[in-house]
């Protein structure tokens, strides 16, 4: 495979994980929910896609189902889990992800157990690996764009303001009329839907699913992307996804061209660990800082104030 195909491959990955990052950003960046079980919903989406496409549903219905079923799982998990304190929530959903993975691993009748199952791709192979990837880039980035739009509109509205308020101080927000359980459950549900959509795209792009693809490390990789890029900034987390993917896939590709003394894939976890420490030490709020709430009315008010100030200083 040539460098061009490799680059396209990285871009597909950036798109898919960009969607997962946006979903974690909605939950953690804006609503303050430490979802350490992201991979559970990614897995749900991927297996939903695999199983439904096997029985012959068209791809768009499979993708919608991936999102829907993950959303339902998200809601079901969130109802008991959101009653827990933040740190217990993290552990509960982390365990949930592992349980799902182990179920898929041991229930061989369902989806092939450890060996996984083949998934038919949306775009059939037309004699060109490059074309296959370009088609996927188109589809993945269309989905990414839609998710970005939803998260961006949502977080720049009174709804997003309430969400951020709950993240800052949930007791004060509750005393100001914000039903925190409703906001948290909705954030969890929407986030899970997006992760499920990304899982569906992932399964069809790789053309197989197997439990080994859904190790807890996936969750942590997404966390690194979000923390690096800047929680509560949608552009930031996409930047994080891009940088981490280039690093992750890039090191794997470089070793095909350059003889290195060590296999970089073995070093990756160490490097990721170091990266997280550096980010938290030197840029605890990520590369891009939280984006302020932007609404039409706020912009008008801000401009009016600036105009008054300028007049005063003349």
């Amino acid at each position: 495979m040539g460098p061009l195909i490799y680059s396209c491959d990285i871009i597909v990955y950036i798109g898919i994980f960009g969607i997962v990052c946006l979903s974690l950003n909605l939950e953690y960046g804006f609503a303050g929910l430490a979802n350490f079980g992201k991979v559970a919903f990614f897995l749900t989406g991927a297996y939903t896609y695999a199983l439904l496409s096997q029985i012959g549903l068209p791809f768009y219905l499979c993708l919608i189902a991936s999102a829907l079923i993950s959303a339902i799982f998200g809601l079901l998990v969130s109802l008991p889990a959101l009653r827990l304190r933040a740190d217990y929530l993290a552990i509960a959903v982390l365990a949930f992800g592992e349980i799902l993975r182990l179920i898929m691993k041991s229930e061989k009748w369902l989806a092939g157990g450890d060996w996984g199952m083949a998934v038919s791709p949306i775009f059939p192979y037309m004699g060109s690996y490059l074309l296959y990837r370009l088609e996927n880039i188109g589809l993945v980035f269309l989905c990414l764009f839609l998710c970005f739009l939803v998260v961006q509109l949502l977080t720049n509205s009174p709804y997003g303001r309430a969400m951020r308020a709950i993240r800052e101080d949930e007791v004060a927000a509750e005393a100001l009329g914000k039903d925190r359980s409703r906001f948290k459950a909705q954030a969890f549900m929407l986030g899970s839907a997006m992760a499920g959509l990304a899982g569906g795209l992932y399964a069809q792009y790789l053309q197989y699913v197997l439990p080994g693809m859904f190790m807890p490390m996936v969750t942590f990789t997404v966390w690194i992307m979000v923390l690096l890029g800047g929680p509560a900034n949608n552009w930031g987390v996409l930047l994080g996804a891009t940088l981490v993917e280039i690093f992750d896939r890039g090191t794997n590709i470089v070793k095909d061209y350059i003889a290195l003394p060590v296999d970089p894939s073995n070093l990756q976890y160490i490097l990721f660990g170091a990266l997280i420490i550096f980010v938290l030490l030197f840029r605890p709020r990520g590369l891009l800082k939280e984006s302020a709430i932007r609404t039409k009315a706020l912009r008008l008010a801000h401009n009016a104030r600036r105009a008054v100030k300028n007049k005063g200083s003349q």
């Binding site: 509109l153 509205s157 009174p158 303001r161 100001l176």
Partner: protein
């Protein structure tokens, strides 16, 4: 006969073996300014937290507008019209001062998931009005120039002011204020109380914990004195200042 706005009957709450609030009964009427005074640890803030639904009382009954509110969640109590301003400001520090105000606004169209995405025109128009209201209140507490700065950049006194302003933004029927004048310069403190009085003419009732008695007693219509979890005396400010028990409890003088 006019019904009491808030009626508290025989409410108790204990933590471990200690009764923080012990059989408290009191009434609050529309448009009154009620003071709650007493030594530190006498249960004033706990009583506020019980009214707000942050603590569940062990015994007793709390009725607001004739409706029992004992087992309601804090956000439901807000919906009914009780709003609080915390003793130690609990602001949303990463949000701007104006956004802090807007969070508190009542009846927002846009804080529903569906509306925020699909009925954008509706809440955007509402938000214009709310911003106007918010800026007026901020003007009043001399914070308007900070409207677009993060609340985390405010000084201690300013945070307190924003906490009070946020309570007013919520258009309460009953506003609980926990030491609103603490850490605020006397001139501004008086000005705020003067303003609260204007609001009370519009029917808002205030229930105020305050150690700055010289300000509180000027404005309050009724004072409750609390000690060791009980209401020991209550009356008009003049009667309280003349009461020797009050001196013994509060000022430690014989």
């Amino acid at each position: 006969m006019q019904e009491e706005l808030l009626r508290i009957k025989e409410v108790s709450k204990h933590f471990g073996g200690v009764y923080a609030v012990n059989g408290v009964s009191l009434d609050i009427n529309h448009g009154g300014i009620y003071g709650l005074v007493g030594p530190n640890g006498s249960g004033k803030t706990t009583l506020f937290n019980i009214i707000l639904g942050l603590h569940k009382p062990d015994q007793g009954e709390i009725c607001f507008k004739g409706k029992r509110i004992n087992n309601l969640a804090p956000h439901q109590i807000y919906e009914l019209g009780i709003v609080n301003s915390f003793q130690l400001p609990r602001l949303f520090y990463d949000l701007s001062v104006l956004d802090n105000m807007l969070v508190a606004a009542r009846g927002q169209q846009g804080d529903r998931l569906f509306n925020s995405l699909f009925l954008r025109g509706r809440w955007q128009n509402q938000e214009k009005e709310l911003i106007k209201e918010a800026l007026e209140i901020l003007e009043l507490v001399e914070l308007a120039q900070w409207a677009f700065s993060p609340a985390g950049e405010l000084s201690g006194g300013q945070r307190k002011l924003l906490e009070v302003a946020r309570g007013l933004m919520a258009k309460p029927t009953l506003l609980l204020l926990d030491e609103p004048a603490a850490g605020i310069n006397p001139v501004l403190g008086k000005k705020i109380f003067q303003r609260l009085k204007d609001f009370s003419h519009n029917g808002i009732a205030f229930f105020i914990v305050e150690h700055r008695l010289e300000i509180l007693f000027d404005f309050a219509t009724w004072i409750y004195v609390m000690d060791k979890g009980r209401i020991v005396i209550d009356g008009e400010p003049q009667a309280i200042t003349d009461n020797p028990t009050f001196y013994a409890i509060y000022l430690g003088e014989e």
